[in-house]
């Protein structure tokens, strides 16, 4: 079938909350493709990634029509099966390097731990190999060091190296560069791109940073308040956003291409509407329908780079009504 990741109608509801954190999300990732999920805090992007990997635990109810990663059914697998799927088929890189390593154990020990004992030696060698590949010097010494001996950038590289063990087919990276200095970030991004190409990996990238996303991801999903509001080729969306939220998001970000010292675009009102489109209360072009009817993801004429979907009742006219400020 070719799709490394296939999600249909994923829904995540945290216990004790009123609204679901993620409502009916569907998307897939093909082989060697990089997809980014973009959104602000509360959009549900990290919840989506955690739910896909079945890492949320008993705090939430997850339901989906289909959840297949690297050919394995993640929806109905047992915890034991899930652990081995995650170990063998998927590599994960998380946000804050200092928080995601056990500071009381050597990095080599932590990384090979999920594998079977008789494989440990083999995996150590593989890890040293990958550490060198990702640019960590003296890898054979570093492997026995503790996390505090390495800088944030190096720890993140080490995490990427660890994620590659066992030749996974899918790499899931949640804000892999946001805790890092910008020069280290630039380096890590080009490293990721090289690795993806070399190993024919697919990538699911979660980020709030449009600059990073534009450099790595070929396709993009924009999330707002638990739903997908726009999806399509990255370049196309960033140059021609159709959903009012995306348009406004891009307008709020200062950039070298824009005039300085002028007020950025903002909406004063906050929050989410209870009925209809979640963005309606903040949307500058919302009409009555928007407040009562939830817009479905519908195809929007594409630019030839791939299919574009937008969840907005007024998506045909939105780009005429709101100017993206750049």
């Amino acid at each position: 079938m070719g799709a490394v990741l296939s999600v249909d109608s994923l829904r995540v509801h945290y216990h004790g909350t009123e609204r679901p954190a993620v409502s009916d999300i569907s998307f897939d990732i093909q082989e060697s493709e990089s997809l980014a999920i973009v959104g602000e805090s509360g959009s549900g992007k990290t919840t989506t990634a955690m739910a896909l990997l079945r890492l949320l635990g008993p705090v939430a109810d997850i339901s989906a029509k289909r959840l297949v990663l690297a050919g394995q059914d993640f929806l109905n697998a047992t915890p034991g099966e899930l652990r081995s799927f995650r170990r063998d088929l998927i590599g994960t890189v998380f946000q804050d390097p200092t928080a995601n390593w056990n500071h009381a154990r050597r990095i080599g020990d932590q990384v090979v731990q999920p594998f079977a004992r008789d494989e440990h030696e083999k995996r150590r060698v593989e890890f040293i190999d990958y550490m060198e590949r990702v640019g960590i010097d003296r890898a054979s010494v570093r492997i026995d060091q503790y996390p505090h001996n390495l800088s944030g950038g190096m720890l993140q590289r080490a995490m990427i190296a660890g994620a590659l063990l066992g030749s996974p087919r899918l790499l899931v990276a949640d804000e892999p560069t946001s805790a890092l200095d910008v020069t280290v970030q630039a380096d890590l991004i080009s490293l990721l791109k090289d690795l993806i190409r070399e190993h024919q990996l697919s990538l699911l990238l979660i980020s709030h940073n449009l600059a990073v996303v534009s450099q790595i991801a070929t396709r993009l999903i924009v999330m707002y308040s638990g739903s997908v509001v726009e999806a399509g080729p990255t370049k196309d969306i960033l140059e021609n956003p159709r959903h009012p939220y995306t348009i406004n998001l891009i307008s709020s970000i200062p950039s070298v291409k824009r005039a300085r010292k002028v007020p950025l675009y903002t909406t004063r009102s906050q929050g989410t509407s209870a009925t209809g489109c979640a963005y309606a209360s903040r949307c500058p072009i919302a009409i009555d329908t928007c407040k009562s009817l939830v817009p479905a993801l519908s195809p929007n004429p594409n630019s030839g780079l791939g299919p574009r979907m937008v969840a907005c009742h007024r998506h045909d006219e939105s780009s005429n009504l709101i100017q993206v400020q750049r």
């Binding site: 010097d137 200095d181 380096d187 998001l249 709020s252 200062p254 950039s255 300085r260 950025l264 675009y265």
Partner: protein
């Protein structure tokens, strides 16, 4: 025009377990009344140390700080308090910067009480006025910090900083912990503060694009030294210092400047040399003299300063 705040040859070191760390090496910086000076640098650059020193939270090893032409070291206690009043902070974490057990109204009045301004009644009036100025409403007066969002709390912090009518705000990564859309609101608020109230800002950040948007002039720091200072447009159009170039290349959205980027894979922080130019080990323009020369921050054109032994040659 003489500067509102002038830092001359500031030096500050910290003794840490790994050894002595020079957080500030011969830092020279000027902030004029009503202007926004952006201070950019990565982690370990020393920019927060500069902020802490100006705010009186750290001592100086050597150098002088002059405010309104007067040397701070020579101020009497009474005048030192008056100086504090002119310089107020806005920190990175909106929630943690406020006492969680006090209402917003109380926190807004703290600087007023401390600096002996007004009486009980007028202080409350002033607090309400401040809430209005930053776009919050009267009902926020009695709220506790945990009942408000990050964006709202940062407005409170800005209001508190403005309470005593300071001439300078020190904003240390003031928008870095905020979501993009909220960040835009606070950036706009800072712009308003400068434009409507004429308050100067020292805006410290690692985010080049935010700094560019808000600053009139930018100073770039690396490992405790000021690499380059110039008007914002100039720094972006024609950066001179190799580190400035590398930083711009690494942050830009388009890839066309990749050729200016550095290969930083093998770099270790402990390798920053204690003499000569701290950037020399990573600099593609480095020569022998860069390791030996005593680095000075020199003015090479109006409003343009640079700390580079080879500045004149590098300039195309």
């Amino acid at each position: 025009m003489s500067a509102l705040l002038e830092i001359k040859n500031l030096n500050k070191s910290f003794s840490l377990k790994i050894g002595e760390v020079k957080a500030c090496r011969n830092v020279n910086l000027q902030i004029h009344a009503g202007e926004v000076v952006g201070l950019v640098g990565e982690s370990g650059s020393g920019k927060s140390t500069v902020a802490n020193i100006i705010l009186g939270l750290e001592s100086i090893d050597s150098g002088t700080i002059e405010f309104d032409g007067r040397d701070l070291n020579e101020l009497l206690i009474h005048d030192q308090r008056a100086f504090r009043r002119q310089v107020q902070p806005v920190f990175q974490q909106p929630l943690l910067a406020l006492n969680s057990r006090r209402t917003i109204g109380w926190s807004l009045q703290e600087p007023l009480i401390v600096h002996g301004i007004g009486d009980k009644h007028s202080r409350k009036e002033r607090a309400l006025e401040l809430l209005d100025q930053v776009g919050l409403s009267k009902e926020h007066f009695d709220r506790l910090p945990r009942q408000m969002s990050g964006g709202q709390l940062q407005r409170v912090n800005i209001a508190r900083a403005l309470a005593v009518n300071p001439k300078l705000l020190i904003c240390d990564e003031a928008v870095s912990a905020l979501d993009v859309s909220v960040q835009a609101q606070i950036i706009n608020l800072f712009l308003e503060v400068q434009q409507k109230l004429g308050v100067a800002l020292l805006f410290i950040s690692h985010d080049l694009e935010v700094v560019r948007h808000i600053s009139d002039r930018i100073a770039v720091m690396y490992a405790g030294t000021i690499c380059e200072v110039a008007a914002t447009d100039e720094i972006f159009a024609s950066p001179i210092h190799p580190y400035t170039r590398a930083l711009l290349a690494a942050s830009s959205l388009d890839q066309s400047n990749q050729s200016r980027a550095l290969d930083l894979t093998k770099f270790r922080k402990e390798e920053i040399p204690n003499h000569g130019c701290p950037f020399a080990p990573r600099c593609s323009f480095a020569r022998e003299l860069c390791n030996e020369a005593i680095l000075i921050q020199e003015t090479i054109a109006t409003g343009r300063e640079i700390s580079c032994a080879r500045a004149h040659e590098i300039r195309e």
